[in-house]
Symmetry: C2
Subunit: 692 residues, 2 copies
């Protein structure tokens, strides 16, 4: 924070220093190569070494969300809800892994996942200058953004050619910096152990994002290479004796998205347009899925995983919107923005360099309001998250994109992403026609609402049928559930797509021109403006506040820290740890209510479990969605827990960090070991974690 | 249909006659004084006498929805879901009538309802000329509408003074006619019998609006006058032996609203704006209520009735919207409109008289699109259906309205409506703060979304707090749960309201100017235009098609008819009757799933019940929401059943009647009697119905 003093005039300095955020000093999702050394040293007398950091980051994996290696034989620990997509794909009407749980007693019993990808970050590099130098004077914002996108693809391709590692360029600070990340990538992933959903998600939607909690939200996978368990040098060892109240913790993981650097008008757009609309969509899906699942036990099984995701998203966004609607939160953000803008305005050079950034973002979002719902309906929500529609769209687009040079394609079809894309496209995971019809009928009904029933594309899409009839024709008429049909269409390219009479392919082709056009509009008129404007705002912030700022979350590796600590609620203390006894008490108190059932093997094991085994705990480390499955470690880099949630107060971390009551929630490693040994008869797995 | 032939040129005649609707001949919600004599005679060889009609209409009651007298001692039969509002108000944490059911073994045990009103239609009269003559040349549409509204209030007041009967003028054909209805009104209503919700609503939301069904959706009340059961001359006797497949049925009831006469652009507004927005609101409430109810058993109890209403409304509107989104339905409506408009255009006089009506409605709704959500947020949805907010708004408005002449007031505060209004305002029914806070917090959050977080009234309403904090201050700070506080504020008038520091009163007062202003805008710019335009369209229809048209539903007494008849679904017959055995089978098949539990006394009674007792049946009579509780009678005016639902296909009856698969669903009177005797040990009640 030293530059701050130099850069400020006395009055503004006073204004900023008069509200120092001492209680927020555990804030931050820090970059691997810019850890918060000052804060750790000042507050906790701890200085991480480069070896310590290197060992931890190489022990972590990215797998949708987060996870970590916990044995030298490629064993991965993550959350049950992170592994749930694979659990669903491995389940059948006869064997529902969510109900039965799963334990592989031998390596032979481990179940190969149909389409899972695990990435281990190995190297990273600042490539800001290489990316930014792609922009030439006189380019429009849209052209500049396109030039940067192309350059990103080129940098990635060069890196892959050079190193053989999966390479990805990521935009940081919403436009100020670009980093290149190189990963080892693995796709032979096998399921080792998963508890029942009733134990992993005890308390259901009711207790989700709440505390106290009692969830064994864990799942074990093993990475294989050449048919054998992957040998890893970097993995986490269990902390003997676990952790205690007050202990400093570190969380290494992949937080997905935060909006802390957004301008006020950008946040207002989130508050007044994006979040309300996203919530309306989620509530629509939630009610539709509840209705669908109530129709039969098999519907309940095949819809369960979608339903969890929808409810989870709805509760998270409800909390985020509540923060945006809270005048206290928004006024604090406004004051900070006003201070920065006043400082920029107070000097002609600063004003000329950066002064127009805020208004540029305002008008981009003001214009985008009109297009927002059409964009969603035609692009992100097209097909209502139907698997078949997603496959059809990818096939139709591959036909058009592959003939182009990699850097000219829609970015997800660049060469360096194709392996991942084909993994999903050719997945043998089951596709359920009743669920597909429900998704598509729901989307079609939404599509009519969003664009209006007289829009020409709505009429073309419905083809004279009602949404439900049309969904039936599309799903029952499509051959895309067969993987070989997909492969033939991909191999045949644009000509095969054009010749195909598969109704789902025809739908994707019909939508594609408008879908691309709204996307292009958004890229040129919103994203491009944002990148340029946020680059200026970040430059102003660096100049005013110094380089010691962390960027908004981007789904890449970050480090958070903070002690294990309880809080007060309505005058009563909420202790930081729960235990097994608490879970059984809550089970009894809420007997017969949905979400509070316990699996038979838990009820049977109650007598043999140590009731005071620490089960879940909370800490102040700064996390967000995407951190699910992140390891929690102590100063010795030993595993003490596993992040799986935040409490309801933590949901405002989307825009602002506070630690009065907001907390991250983790499963205690002692509960994991005890449950493996006593409940799941999986002592060998516990031994493997403990290095016995 | 005779005038048709005279009025048409040969080509148009051909166009109309080439699609005669023979299968739709059971269509119609007919006025009491214009029954479908031709159809009944032609199709069923039946001609109702004036005595037959008079006896039936005087046996019917209006009580929110519908019901009928079924004994000379004021015994009323209606649906459980019609009585449910009172069941909720009579329940306590210790005795939940939804779980326990209720049977009064003696008259002393009958439970007085806190705020129920029963109306019996006695006389009716066409007052079209008196209402229309209030309009003077040169008035704007808004002024004309206001003049008609005032005249309606005057006509009602005159009628009450003259007859002592509760008098109400109703607009028919959306503006073409006005009828005056006179009712006997009763407010000493006592609960006699209600089954458990699990029996009344067996199958829950899953089976709602579906067929086959197995629901004992009944509830018995008794009307008292001067402390004694009301003696009635007109009541329905049970049909000995019930009814059979193919029997002609009649339904007398109070259908609430249909949109069959709406213009295409009016329907497009419903499709693209009103229904999507209403559904988004209902889904929001549904998800919030589900979350609220999951928190505790007591929450589940106090929220249950709201939740049923919300789910029911969501499912009904989803069906209506599906019809509006179905190109087949809309194309048929469009053809009919095109024919009428072509006929109007083809003649200069007709064109001059009526030709502008369709465009007038189009532009009114086109303009209203912009105001729609603000109107809802400030008016109909203000307070999120909170009881306390409703009370506060009534108190604040009474203070302003009562000093004015009755015909100058907002219409619900006219003298002839005050008794009904005070019945609700001073109701001793319990008010639950946790539920109130949830409703208000939900509405506040919606209010911020609908108007935008920077709207001045939004900021005033939130008063610097978050929606949830604000809801807590409002509910916990209000004294309005005490009935005497309400009375004191009502007695004190405008001065007392102005002096009150009750936060709920202050909120209502704060919102009132904007709320009145959006309402006035809607009345002047939409309702007024509609009345004038639909009067023209109806005149054109009468001229083209003759007087034999029934008006859209208006919550007033209507007659429907049609035989008991099954249908085909996916090539398989759906028989018209279900039986008790079917219910027990379904209970077993869906064991453990929500909505399919059966009360202990039903399980215990299974062996003693005749398994083949007809339970529910379907017929083609044309009904809609509001018909709930309508008696179903045979040619002898004898009771054979009780309407409680329509199947999913019937939901398109909002816009168009079809009878291929759409059906009304009723409880068979034989199931009612058998359940009373065998399951509920209520033989005396069955005897009373059977006149023993």
């Amino acid at each position: 924070m030293k530059r701050l003093v130099l850069a400020l005039g006395p009055i503004l300095l006073l204004a900023i220093l008069s509200c120092p955020p001492p209680s927020r000093a555990d804030e931050g999702m820090w970059l691997r190569d810019a850890p918060p050394l000052d804060q750790l040293e000042t507050r906790y007398g701890f200085t991480p070494t480069e070896d310590w950091l290197d060992h931890l980051h190489k022990s972590c994996v990215k797998m949708g969300a987060s996870g970590s290696f916990v044995s030298p034989r490629g064993l991965i620990l993550t959350n049950h809800h992170v592994g749930a997509g694979q659990l669903e794909k491995l389940s059948t009407p006869e064997l529902d892994l969510f109900t039965s749980g799963f334990v592989a007693r031998t390596q032979q019993e481990e179940l190969k996942c149909p389409d899972m990808e695990v990435m281990v970050l190995w190297e990273h590099e600042d490539v800001t200058e290489r990316i930014k130098s792609a922009v030439r004077p006189g380019m429009t914002a849209g052209q500049a953004e396109e030039a940067r996108r192309k350059r990103m693809t080129e940098v990635e391709a060069d890196s892959e050619k050079e190193t053989g590692l999966r390479s990805q360029v990521v935009k940081l600070y919403r436009g100020a910096r670009y980093h290149l990340y190189r990963y080892h990538r693995y796709t032979d992933i096998r399921l080792v152990m998963a508890p029942e959903r009733a134990a992993a998600f005890f308390g259901g939607d009711n207790d989700n994002f709440e505390y106290p909690r009692y969830d064994l939200d864990v799942c074990f996978f093993r990475v294989y290479e050449n048919g054998r368990p992957l040998e890893v040098e970097h993995y986490l060892k269990v902390a003997p004796g676990g952790a205690s109240d007050g202990d400093l913790t570190f969380v290494f993981g992949h937080p997905g998205r935060t909006d802390r650097l957004c301008t006020m008008d950008h946040l207002r757009f989130r508050r007044d347009v994006e979040m309300p609309e996203a919530l309306a969509w989620l509530r629509r899906r939630e009610v539709q899925m509840a209705t669908f699942m109530a129709r039969s036990a098999e519907n309940a099984r095949i819809g369960g995983e979608d339903y969890f995701g929808i409810q989870n998203g709805r509760k998270a966004r409800t909390g985020y919107l509540a923060a945006l609607q809270d005048p206290l939160v928004m006024n604090a953000k406004l004051e900070a923005e006003n201070r920065l803008r006043a400082w920029v305005s107070s000097d002609p050079t600063r004003r000329r360099e950066w002064g127009d950034a805020w208004d540029a973002i305002s008008s981009a979002y003001e214009n985008y309001r009109q297009d927002f719902e059409r964009h969603q309906a035609l692009d992100g929500r097209a097909g209502g998250w139907s698997e078949l529609f997603g496959i059809a769209r990818n096939l139709a687009r591959l036909g058009q994109e592959l003939p182009k040079p990699s850097s000219d394609r829609l970015r997800e079809y660049r060469d360096t992403n194709l392996e991942s894309l084909y993994l999903g496209l050719y997945s043998p995971a089951p596709i359920y026609p009743p669920l597909e019809m429900d998704r598509i009928a729901g989307w079609l009904s939404y599509f009519v609402e969003a664009l209006g029933g007289d829009d020409p594309i709505v009429k073309s899409v419905l083809a004279g049928q009602s949404p439900r009839q049309r969904a039936e024709s599309l799903v029952l008429g499509s051959k895309l559930p067969q993987v070989e049909v997909r492969k033939a269409l991909a191999d045949g390219g644009a000509a095969a797509i054009e010749a195909s009479d598969d109704p789902m392919i025809r739908l994707a082709a019909l939508l594609d021109p408008e879908s691309r056009s709204v996307r292009k509009l958004h890229e040129d008129e919103v994203e491009a403006v944002e990148t340029a404007a946020y680059a200026k705002i970040a430059a102003a912030q660096f100049a005013l506040l110094g380089e010691g700022l962390y960027p908004d979350a981007t789904g890449t590796l970050r480090i958070a820290f903070g002690p294990i600590r309880g809080y007060e609620e309505a005058g009563r203390p909420v202790p930081p740890f729960t235990d097994f006894a608490g879970m059984f008490r809550r089970h009894t108190e809420r007997a017969g209510q949905a979400g509070f059932e316990l699996p038979a093997r838990w009820l049977e094991a109650e007598k043999r479990l140590r009731p005071d085994t620490p089960f879940n705990f909370i800490c102040t480390a700064d996390i967000i969605g995407g951190n699910s499955g992140s390891p929690v470690v102590n100063r010795n880099a030993e595993l003490i827990g596993l992040i799986f949630d935040g409490n309801i107060e933590s949901l405002e971390w989307d825009v602002a960090y506070t630690d009065e009551r907001a907390r991250s929630v983790a499963v205690d490693v002692r509960a994991i070991l005890e449950a493996l040994r006593v409940v799941y008869d999986a002592g060998a797995l516990a031994d493997e974690m403990e290095g016995r």
